[in-house]
């Protein structure tokens, strides 16, 4: 039997996790090197897949095997533009997190190697989630990602890590439970229509009554809204990100939360197009609230990691807004946003982590004047902050602007209010920078060391990508485009034509 590319991508980190665990406990360094090696090979493989996808299209990467015949469940993997982008993000962030977290797991509840192994396990499951083209398989993997994340938060975080881990789990399980109900419901619909099949391609053709569709949509949507997270289901995130190690936070916010917004595109819009349109007004308002509420809360935080967590709530508000604006700019922008947010938030969390590990405190009030003693640290922090506030010229600007413009073309009031978010973003980032980095050097800061080579190495690729994709985003945008077009077509929406079309001849 030929092993498909995607299966290989999924297996590789999984095998890596097992091998890492098999390394004797005394040889922690070797275990870490093995883990890093596996993640790097996965990254190379992912790059090959992405390039191949770009050249040959999705057909080469589809795999379908019957799994549980009675349920119509399949082991089915495949890629579309949205999936590719997120798989690449996952494969990219994992080695970066491993390098940046090299010494972060020494004081954990469990061995250092288990930290690295869980990360690889999470990578495998995340790739599976983004590639699954069977609803049942997706659900199983979706729930399974909770396991490594639970251990990563609960085993290697701050003082309140257990509380945070449990809270994370309860929220997620609650969301998962409602989704399960919908998954079962889908089976019923599918079985009634003939042979039950959980294949996404089959389910997208299902005919549902209006009520059924709406109920099933709500089950999925709720799970994704918890995951994303949207206000008012967001409070688990600041706790989790505040207690977890910075590396775990990157994986949590950068990758795992994207499953929520990814799910909205692939499953909410894919399976329940009419219900999605029906829910648009409410979702847009909630997204708008998330944008502003997250930003205001970020401004008011006194803890660095919680602050960054709240900025992400605001960013996820933008992503959801772009998805449910149901325009090609909005959808493209949101997908690109997911990728760019992964880069910028990773950079921000990791540099914040470097800072916190030096001083041993995440309280903003414990800092001041860092720029004077550690200019490289301060400079990279500012860079990451600027990309988080979507400075034009950096990659997040293009995605945020597309989201806003896409929303504007259909829902002017929402977009106009959401634009205020750009002022609030400047406030939360620059206030934090001012408090941490500027002013007179505070006690306990004088001897702060600047970044070492390993630390710079971990974030340099992020910075290169943020600038590079800010100037030349076309490759990523072009990968996303066909997926957005087919989604729009499936939902049955088209962009509004310009009011005053200016033809080439008129110019």
């Amino acid at each position: 039997m030929n092993i498909g590319w995607l299966t290989l991508l999924l297996l590789l980190p999984f095998v890596g996790a097992i091998v890492t665990m098999l390394v004797p406990r005394a040889k922690a360094l070797l275990a870490k090197q093995v883990a890093l090696g596996f993640s790097l090979v996965t990254l190379v493989l992912t790059a090959i897949v992405a390039i191949g996808y770009n050249r040959n299209g999705p057909e080469d990467y589809a795999e379908t095997y019957t799994w549980i015949k009675a349920f119509g469940a399949h082991y089915a993997l495949g890629l579309d533009g949205v999936g590719v982008v997120l798989v690449v993000l996952t494969a990219l962030l994992t080695p970066i997190v491993l390098i940046a977290s090299w010494n972060d797991a020494q004081n954990g509840r469990w061995s250092e190697k288990s930290f690295f192994a869980w990360i690889l396990g999470l990578e495998a499951l995340s790739i599976g989630v983004f590639a699954a083209t069977d609803v049942f398989l997706f659900y199983v993997l979706f729930e399974a990602t909770l396991i490594p994340m639970y251990f990563l938060i609960g085993g290697f975080g701050g003082a309140q890590r257990s509380y945070a881990a449990v809270k994370f789990l309860l929220y997620s399980l609650l969301g998962g439970l409602l989704m399960l109900a919908s998954v079962v419901g889908l089976y019923v619909v599918s079985a009634r229509a003939g042979d039950p099949s959980y294949l996404l391609s089959d389910m997208m053709k299902l005919d549902m009554s209006q009520n059924t569709e709406r109920w099933l949509f709500l089950g999925f949507m709720f799970a994704f809204a918890v995951k994303a997270p949207m206000v008012p289901f967001h409070t688990w995130l600041p706790d989790a990100a505040g207690e977890a190690t910075p590396g775990t936070s990157v994986l949590l916010v950068g990758i795992l939360d994207k499953i929520g917004t990814f799910g909205m595109i692939r499953f909410c819009l894919g399976l329940f197009p009419n219900a999605s349109e029906w829910a648009t007004p409410v979702v847009l308002v909630l997204a708008l609230i998330s944008v502003l509420y997250g930003a205001l809360l970020a401004i008011g935080q006194t803890d660095i990691k919680r602050l960054i967590a709240y900025t992400s709530i605001s960013h996820f508000g933008f992503i959801v807004m772009g998805i449910f604006a149901l325009t090609s700019q909005g959808l493209t922008g949101s997908t690109l946003y997911m990728f760019n947010h992964g880069l910028s938030t990773a950079a921000l969390f990791l540099v914040a982590g470097y800072l916190i590990s030096r001083r041993g405190s995440a309280r903003i009030a414990d800092y001041g004047g860092v720029e004077k003693v550690a200019p490289v640290l301060a400079g990279t922090f500012l860079f990451a902050g600027l990309s988080s506030l979507a400075l034009p010229g950096m990659s997040p600007f293009i995605s945020e602007f597309m989201v806003l413009a896409g929303t504007f073309s259909r829902h002017k009031v929402i977009a106009v209010i959401a634009v205020v978010g750009i002022v609030l973003a400047a406030l939360y980032i620059l206030l934090m920078y001012q408090r941490l980095m500027t002013g007179p050097v505070r006690d306990g800061i004088e001897k702060l060391k600047d970044l070492n080579v390993r630390e710079v190495l971990a974030i340099a690729p992020l910075m290169v990508l943020i600038v590079g994709l800010g100037i030349f985003p076309k490759p990523v945008v072009d990968i996303i485009k066909p997926a957005v077009e087919s989604t729009m077509q499936h939902v049955g929406v088209t962009d509004k034509a310009p009011q005053i079309p200016v033809t080439e001849g008129q110019k």
Binding site: Y163, Y187, I500
Partner: protein
């Protein structure tokens, strides 16, 4: 060399900035030299382009070069393309020319600063961004340059960020500018929705088909953006604080170039303002109000840089006013922008030279009689002074006189305000001159004023000469008007009275203002600012209560809101959902129990969950 290489203008300083900022200490020894070379190369290239343009016909002078497709989404396509035309080339020359002089000056001014290399890196970043701003051929690309200069401004205002005041001022500048960015963002979004593009060519072509409402909205959005960048009322408050930055920064960014970007934006968008009287009127009102407000603030400041900053606000108000008047005013707005770039950069650098000799003291009450100690600085500053007053034949005479003339022709009240502003300008500038260079010396014993090194006085002399001869742009056969006409159009204003009478009246008002200044500040200036002053003086000293207003209306309620939300989020939302979650899990809210031995519980719930799936599916199957 040819026009296709226009991108080099942006690339050269950008690469230099990258080398200086990423190169680290290795570049310390020669960083300032590379940093100065970059704008000089760009300037030389700009001159070549300019000379080449002279040989071209009017039509051929505007050319757009597409470098690559930035991105396309749906039916919207945005190109990374540059536009070189009579308007942008003037800006290129101003930015790189004055920019180079200020770089040279900074070699001396920042000599003893251990972070001088980084200073030059930031300056180069600014030059690159500013050139992108004026060369971009698409509003979205303008935005990149627009925010780039904002970033450079932020970094440079806060250059001495170990001072809290500098760090706060930098943040304030950025945040206030972001408020302006709301306008630019919405404008580009509207253009996408209206024209399906934000390229200049498309917007210009489509503007005449705009509905009156959309035209007005677009005009107002762009005006909001312009207000932020150009420190126009109501977004003026950041500029005075921005003086926390090193003085060359104030000269380059906060006087000669960046703060005029708003004027550029309005002039560049002339096709839109052409079809909306309402928005054009708003531009005139904003300009007029700021021209007066800045002048009044300038009267009350003892800090030499803040007095000049008030003056900058005011002078940009004049440009804005002229730009708002439409084709009768565009050319004069740009003309004044250029001459102001010369004489204001000159005076700011002069102020820097004074501070250099006075141990960085900025308080004019501690100056006095410096004309004897800093002869070059004094004479060059005097050139700038005569230019801003509008004394013939200095450059300001030609540029400002025309704005007042056109203002009177279009609207009597606006004209009167402009005339009054000229009088106030003469007053506060004379005050500044008298307090700094004349009267008795008022400095402490251990201060030893001295002339600055020639690397600093050299640029001063060149700028002083430009302040004198800059008027030639106009009086040499109305050159600038004809030059800009293909871009901005031109209409002759119908003067209310003869040009000569207008000139004489203006001169009279200016001389009265200056005379009052001389009389009041000739001598007997107390070293400490008088405390018991009239409400008017307090009003002016407190920047017309702009900050107080912001604080009461925005900051305090904002802080209150944030605090309330944080409290609510911790108690309310979290508490509620926690309770709910606990209820669902059947755990009666006692999470504590699960902190130990939770692994087992988790495994159990997983098994339970999986079992549930199977049972559920089987149940359905059986039915």
């Amino acid at each position: 060399m040819s026009h296709e290489l226009t991108w080099l203008l942006v690339a050269v300083p950008a690469v230099s900035a990258a080398i200086l900022l990423l190169g680290g200490k290795a570049t310390n020894a020669w960083g300032h030299l590379l940093g100065t070379l970059a704008p000089l190369i760009a300037f030389a290239f700009g001159v070549v382009l300019f000379v080449q343009m002279q040989g071209l016909g009017t039509e051929e002078r505007s050319e757009t070069f597409k470098l690559f497709e930035w991105f396309s989404v749906g039916s919207i396509k945005v190109d990374f393309s540059l536009l070189i035309d009579p308007l942008s080339i003037l800006f290129v020359l101003l930015i790189t020319g004055v920019g180079s002089l200020i770089h040279i000056y900074s070699i001396g001014y920042m000599e003893h600063d251990e972070r001088r290399r980084r200073f030059f890196g930031y300056l180069n970043l600014f030059i690159a961004s500013m050139l992108l701003l004026v060369l971009a051929a698409d509003y979205l690309l303008v935005f990149v340059g627009w925010e780039g200069v904002g970033l450079a401004s932020y970094l440079l205002i806060g250059f001495w960020q170990h001072k809290n005041s500098a760090a706060v001022a930098a943040k304030k500048a950025f945040v206030v500018n972001r408020v302006g960015d709301i306008g630019l963002s919405l404008a580009v979004m509207s253009m996408w929705a209206l024209f399906g593009s934000s390229a200049f060519a498309t917007v210009d072509a489509g503007a005449e088909h705009l509905s009156p409402t959309w035209a007005t909205l677009l005009g107002l959005m762009l005006l909001l953006a312009a207000c932020g960048k150009s420190a126009q009322v109501p977004l003026q408050s950041w500029l005075l604080d921005a003086m926390e930055g090193p003085t060359p920064v104030s000269a380059l960014i906060h006087a000669a170039t960046m703060v005029t970007a708003g004027v550029y934006l309005v002039v560049r968008s002339n096709a839109i303002y052409e079809v909306t009287d309402a928005a054009s009127t708003a531009v005139v009102i904003v300009g007029t109000v700021t021209a007066l407000a800045g002048a009044i603030i300038g009267c009350a400041k003892d800090d030499i840089k803040k007095a000049l900053a008030g003056s900058t606000m005011s002078q940009i108000g004049y440009m804005m006013l002229a730009a708002g008047l439409g084709p009768v005013g565009y050319a004069f707005a740009i003309f004044h922008l250029l001459t102001h770039g010369f004489f204001k950069a000159n005076m700011f650098l002069g102020a820097g030279s004074v501070m250099h000799g006075m141990d960085d003291d900025v308080n004019m009450r501690h100056y006095g009689a410096l004309r004897k100690y800093m002869k070059v600085t004094f004479v060059t500053f005097a050139f700038g002074y005569l230019a801003i007053l509008g004394i013939p034949p200095f450059s300001g005479f030609f540029s400002k006189d025309h704005i007042i003339e056109v203002a009177f022709a279009e609207n009597f009240v606006v004209g009167l305000c402009a005339l009054l502003g000229a009088g106030i300008t003469a007053f506060y500038m004379t005050r500044l001159m008298m307090m700094t260079f004349f009267g008795e010396k008022r400095w402490e014993k251990d201060v030893h004023p001295h002339e600055s090194p020639s690397v600093m006085t050299g640029p001063l002399i060149i700028l002083a000469i430009l302040s004198l001869v800059g008027g030639a742009l106009y009086f040499a056969g109305h050159w600038i008007v004809d030059w800009l006409e293909p871009v901005t159009g031109f209409e002759e204003a119908e003067p209310a009275i003869s040009a000569l009478a207008m000139t004489l009246i203006t001169l009279a008002v200016v001389l009265v203002g200056a005379a009052i200044g001389v009389m009041l500040f000739r001598r007997d200036i107390p070293r400490e600012a008088p405390v018991r002053v009239s409400p008017v003086t307090t009003f002016a000293r407190r920047d017309l209560y702009g900050d107080a207003l912001n604080e009461t209306v925005l900051m305090r309620p904002g802080q209150y809101l944030t605090r309330t939300l944080v409290w609510l989020d911790n108690r309310g939302v979290d508490g509620l959902v926690n309770g709910l979650a606990a209820l669902f899990g059947g755990m009666s809210g006692r999470l504590r129990r699960f902190q130990t031995g939770f692994v087992r519980s988790y495994a159990l719930s997983m098994v339970f969950g999986a079992a549930l799936v199977v049972v559920a599916l089987l149940a359905v199957r059986l039915s």
